[in-house]
Amino acid sequence: MRVPLQRVAHIRAGDKGNTSNISVIAYDLALFPVLEEQLTVAAVLARYGERVAGPATRYVVSPLGAMNFVLQGALGGGVSRTLSQDNFGKALGSALLDIELEVDDALVPLLRGPA
């Protein structure tokens, strides 16, 4: 079934200069292959569109069920220069929550939150 990423994984964003890093952590290790296969750099950049200039890198840490996206050109020039209300990009990661992922029925019991 197709579900929003919010049910599969949780997210935290951090800032350094004009770069935002967004970690995506599976709620269960068994869900991680779904992220690894479907939450590609291309999928993430497509979700952000012009909001993130890029380039972007994905670091995968399978034993921890986590991946870390490093998005350059994501903070409007950096915390002090940006015109954005969210100058640290603290809520930037939440844009990924509505990305739809295909999840095998067998994994559905591991999903979080309301169906």
């Binding site: 919010q6 709620y27 909001r51 670091y59 034993p63 002090s80 015109l83 844009a95």
Partner: protein
């Protein structure tokens, strides 16, 4: 033996009461404060010029020390803090005054200085990391300050010299927590495995409540018990750096695999190569085990030889930002906001606004995710119109607020606007990074006594 290290602050404006609680109830050997952001030094330097009463250190230093000193003195807890900002010696003098006020004589307060390299910037650095341009391309007239991120070593020196309290300027955040581990357990400064594990624990600690349930809750997905009563974390560190992350009994919040993992990646780029002045940390091997309620045992974080360079943070004056906001509500709110935007675009043209960039956001629609916001969502009941521009001069920046003023009686129907207003114009201090060879940087330890 277990070394008990607590967090006292994760940033300048952090809550004070959890620091007091750690000092009173945490049974701590060390209490560590992280109060600096990337632009703190430059902003402090700019303020020093305009405000002769600004002491150059953490503006909450008095509040923090009044809160924690009684508990720390009773328990014998040592304090390590980067509240010195651009004036660590001034901060140390002020801390001595606080000690004397409490009748605590003979306490040693160390100030670490030497990491400011503003005068030498153009001779000891090469490249701006963000742009690849040479540092020499920066306008010297715009340069505010440049400072090196020091590591744990100067703090260890101060502890070896008998300091009860160590106050620093710019130090890498994890180093504040690593220093007591090195000092208490006698780790060598090239014991990369232990330094890696210890720095990893420092990294998990340095953002305070972000590992105890803060910056975490998402109702229905990630719930946090009593999130109004979060504690700052305590690391119970063993001699090999393995640590249990814990918090004071009776506090709200939680420490779980999920909170630890979110913080593990926070502000990290390559998780196998997290550069600090002390060691290159490898988080990918971390072992995270729950050993009790709100108790997570962290081990097997790796370490590799440290880099031969240190990070330099450079602050430059880059003009001004002008900003103001007004609001609409009820049926047709978004249409009125769109008309208001059209009026402002015409007005800025009319007055010949000189701006590098102008942005008009709709709060409630697209102010946070910008162009990545969906356009097919239901109309919001309320919309804020946020107008912001970056300019070369303060006078141009002030025009943003002045034009928004005009929207009160010359704008769209049913416009809500808060008057009086404040702080609609601010100076921009841009931050750049570079590297400096670590042999080009020294430091000094100045010891005061109460």
């Amino acid at each position: 033996m277990t070394l008990r290290i607590g967090s006292g602050a994760a940033w300048w404006a952090d809550r004070i009461s959890p620091a007091r609680r750690n000092a009173e109830e945490g049974d701590l050997d060390y209490l560590c404060f992280e109060t600096m952001a990337e632009a703190t030094v430059s902003v402090a330097q700019v303020r020093r010029v305009s405000d002769p009463n600004f002491p150059g250190y953490d503006t909450y230093l008095d509040d923090r020390f009044e809160a924690v000193l009684p508990g720390c003195l009773r328990r014998g807890t040592k304090i390590i803090s980067n509240q010195g900002w651009v004036n660590p010696i001034g901060a140390a003098e002020r801390i001595v005054e606080h000690l004397q006020k409490l009748g605590a004589s003979g306490k040693k307060v160390a100030a670490i200085t030497g990491n400011e390299i503003t005068d030498r910037l153009f001779t000891v650095t090469d490249t701006i990391l963000e742009t690849g341009e040479p540092v020499s391309s920066l306008d010297p007239a715009s340069l505010v300050s440049a400072e090196v991120y020091l590591g744990a070593e100067p703090i260890v020196d101060a502890l070896r010299a008998g300091a009860d309290i160590v106050v620093t300027g710019r130090v890498a955040d994890p180093s504040l927590f690593l220093a007591p581990m090195i000092y208490e357990y006698g780790w060598a400064l090239d014991d990369w495995a232990r330094l890696g594990q210890g720095s990893g624990i420092g990294h998990l600690m340095e953002c305070g409540a972000q590992v105890t349930g803060g910056y975490f809750a998402d109702p229905g997905f990630k719930d946090v018990p009593r999130p109004w009563d979060l504690a700052f974390p305590i690391a119970e560190v063993e001699s090999d750096g393995t640590a249990v992350l814990a918090k004071v009994a009776g506090s709200g919040g939680l420490i779980s695999r999920d909170t630890v993992l979110e913080q593990l990646f926070y502000e990290v780029h390559d998780p196998a190569n997290y550069l600090t002045p002390d060691v290159t940390v490898d988080f990918t091997t971390a072992d995270i085990v729950e050993v009790g309620p709100d108790r997570m045992r962290i081990s097997a974080i790796g370490g590799k030889q440290r880099s031969s360079t240190l990070k330099v943070s450079i602050g430059t004056r880059e003009g001004y930002i002008g900003e103001d906001t007004f609001y609409y509500a009820g049926l047709g709110a978004l249409r009125r906001a769109e008309l208001a935007r059209e009026i402002l675009v015409h007005r800025f043209d009319e007055i010949g606004l000189q701006a590098e960039a102008v942005q008009i956001d709709f709060l409630g629609v697209n102010a946070i995710h910008g162009s990545a916001s969906p356009t097919d969502w239901p109309e919001p009941y309320e919309v804020g119109v946020r107008v912001v521009a970056r300019t070369q001069t303060a006078a141009e920046a002030a025009k943003i607020g002045r034009e928004v003023d005009g929207m009160a009686v010359s704008g769209v129907g049913m416009t809500a606007k808060r008057v009086p207003h404040a702080d609609r114009t601010r100076a921009v201090v841009g931050v750049w990074s570079s590297l400096v060879d670590r042999t080009a940087v020294g430091y000094d330890v100045t010891m005061l006594e109460s």
